[in-house]
Symmetry: C2
Subunit: 362 residues, 2 copies
């Protein structure tokens, strides 16, 4: 078979190690595993969601409402916008895919931070576009401006706050940047962790209504996979002006999220107390990791998310392997060219164990 | 924003009317609605699946096992193949998308029957490929051969049995066709309804192992959305040689099916008695629609699926609207240029109601 030649250069994505693998490979009991590698919500999801899903199980044989009428209405109301401003994806990943595929071919260019969410580059390369990255690992707006002026990319990704590093640009820096670029470049603002940033520091808030109304060349992304605790159900959304959303809908496959995902997301959005409590506990627990790093003299990045990125002095890959054999899964950053680890902030009990083990190994 | 110009010609997909819409638009009570429009399993799903999903609900906050280790092993064992021969998609739709995007660009050609599963054309057009169709609505292998010789398409879709018409080519016709085409054309054999065809007539069976082993340029698709009763969970699969599967994996987004979808599919595959009973009841009930059509002098297509395609003498669109107002949802075929309806074969009770109403309206 003759497949597209650009696929020769594409590697298959390797996700973080799932628990099932540890159970299989090292014979560790499922109950003894602590997985803090994929920034899931360690408090699970809202009890109201669980209850609602239990009631909905007998609907699994029926296709979901393809228009996602109720979920779009709920999101529109949450963000003070209209349903026509919203598109639903199987995770915000899928919106990234729609955005890239609606614009890019082999003549296109996509700009992103040097170290940021892997899917921007993966979908970008699949489209045949050229990937441009800043010199700085973290988002540096001057870097972005320089490369923008030189290359006029078709799409720019801003991950605010940034996964896997945790830093976040200030709102006023973002607005000033948007003022400096022309309307033929689409700026994607990925707010997968915005609920965390907005709690920690109001100067990081990106308001989808305000920004997409002022700048027609922006789209904001959000997800139910993080603070809403629905990583397993794959629901994300994009918010933009009606023309951009209508165009992206042309790329959306029918029934792109499941019946239960739809139900879970609708319920999750209602329980903002769960969101608040999750974020509050997250930053209470994060202090413990910061204190640990300070005590050990390890550098870390000030985080506006539910994870912390810590530079290591010993080999981070070896450290992660040692942790893995003890049933502790965190993310090694060697593949990003950084001797560091990214740890999702767990529950108090999970962090007790992780910090105790790390204290011995670092 | 400058979106790709090929999107100008693309229409947004309109799925069948969901129940929620009837409830909203006509004020019909959910319990009074009979939806036989999307070929879901009217018997729901296996009780073992429901039980297993109930036990798994608390896993929704965790990402699924991205390798789908257990599901691929189970499918491999079911088809007497290896896990490396299998790829999992969010419905078999997603495998169609991978296949087209792995091969096609604006220079490519895709061949299909005139009236067949809509997603072949939708994904084909999104890739920029030229769509070629047979003259005949139903699959006609001589038509396929003629167009193949003239245009040498990159991909050929055979839908066996065919949705939305219901007919099915014989196995020996398919093998003879494969003998006549060269290895640079990928033939996709969509077996979404194969479990039904194989029960009704052994001369329609497509065995994925046999066909993909004999013809390296084939891929077989299957789904959990139909006989397994998991339409709402979006799980399908592709079976081919390891090289083709490895290439398609490069296009697979991480975590493309949900935690619950994975669990549901693993359990569903185990309950082959549910599959057998579903298919048996399906054909017992289908006879009633055939007898109805015969009585009314309406032509229908001999069906190897869980639906029946009936040509109407009165206007099919108007008929479907009348049915809709009574809470009965079936599929009008006007958009395919055919004055006909497609009815999913329901349970005895559902069919009692539908046939009674149809008797008055036809």
């Amino acid at each position: 078979m003759k497949f597209k030649s650009l696929l020769n250069g594409i590697k298959t994505y390797e996700a973080g190690k799932p628990m099932e693998l540890l159970v299989r490979e090292y014979g560790i009991k499922p109950g003894d595993i602590i997985k803090l590698a994929s920034n899931e919500n360690p408090y699970g999801t809202s009890p109201a969601v669980i209850k609602s899903l239990n009631r909905s199980i007998d609907k699994v044989s029926m296709y979901p409402d393809d228009s996602a009428y109720e979920l779009k209405s709920a999101l529109a109301s949450h963000f003070d916008m209209l349903s026509e401003n919203i598109i639903i994806g199987a995770g915000s990943d899928q919106i990234i895919e729609f955005v890239i595929n609606s614009i890019c071919d082999t003549n296109s260019k996509i700009l992103m931070a040097k170290t940021t969410f892997a899917m921007y580059e993966i979908y970008g390369r699949l489209s045949g576009a050229t990937i441009l990255k800043t010199q700085s690992h973290e988002h540096n707006i001057d870097d972005f401006k320089d490369i923008y002026k030189k290359h006029k990319p078709n799409i720019i990704f801003l991950c605010l706050p940034n996964n896997p590093l945790g830093e976040c640009l200030n709102t006023d820096e973002v607005y000033a940047f948007l003022d400096s670029i022309d309307k033929n470049t689409l700026v994607v603002i990925d707010g997968a962790y915005q609920e965390y940033a907005r709690y920690k520091d109001p100067s990081k808030v990106i308001d989808p209504k305000d920004i997409t109304t002022k700048y027609s060349n922006t789209i904001c992304l959000g997800t139910f996979s993080k603070v809403y605790g629905l990583g397993g159900l794959r629901v994300g959304y994009g918010i933009s002006n009606r023309n951009t959303i209508a165009t992206l809908h042309k790329l959306r496959p029918p029934f792109n999220i499941t019946t239960l995902s739809l139900q879970g997301a609708i319920e999750a959005l209602k329980d903002q107390k769960f969101v608040h409590d999750t974020v509050e506990k997250n930053f209470e627990q994060m202090i413990r990791y910061e204190e640990f790093a300070d005590k050990k003299g390890l550098k870390y990045i000030d985080s506006y998310t539910n994870f912390i990125f810590i530079y290591m002095e010993t080999n981070s890959k070896e450290l992660c392997e040692k942790l893995l054999k003890k049933g502790l899964i965190v993310r090694d950053m060697t593949s990003y060219g950084l001797n560091a680890i990214r740890i999702t902030i767990g529950t108090k009990k999970q962090n007790d164990t992780v910090l105790e083990v790390l204290d011995k190994l670092c």
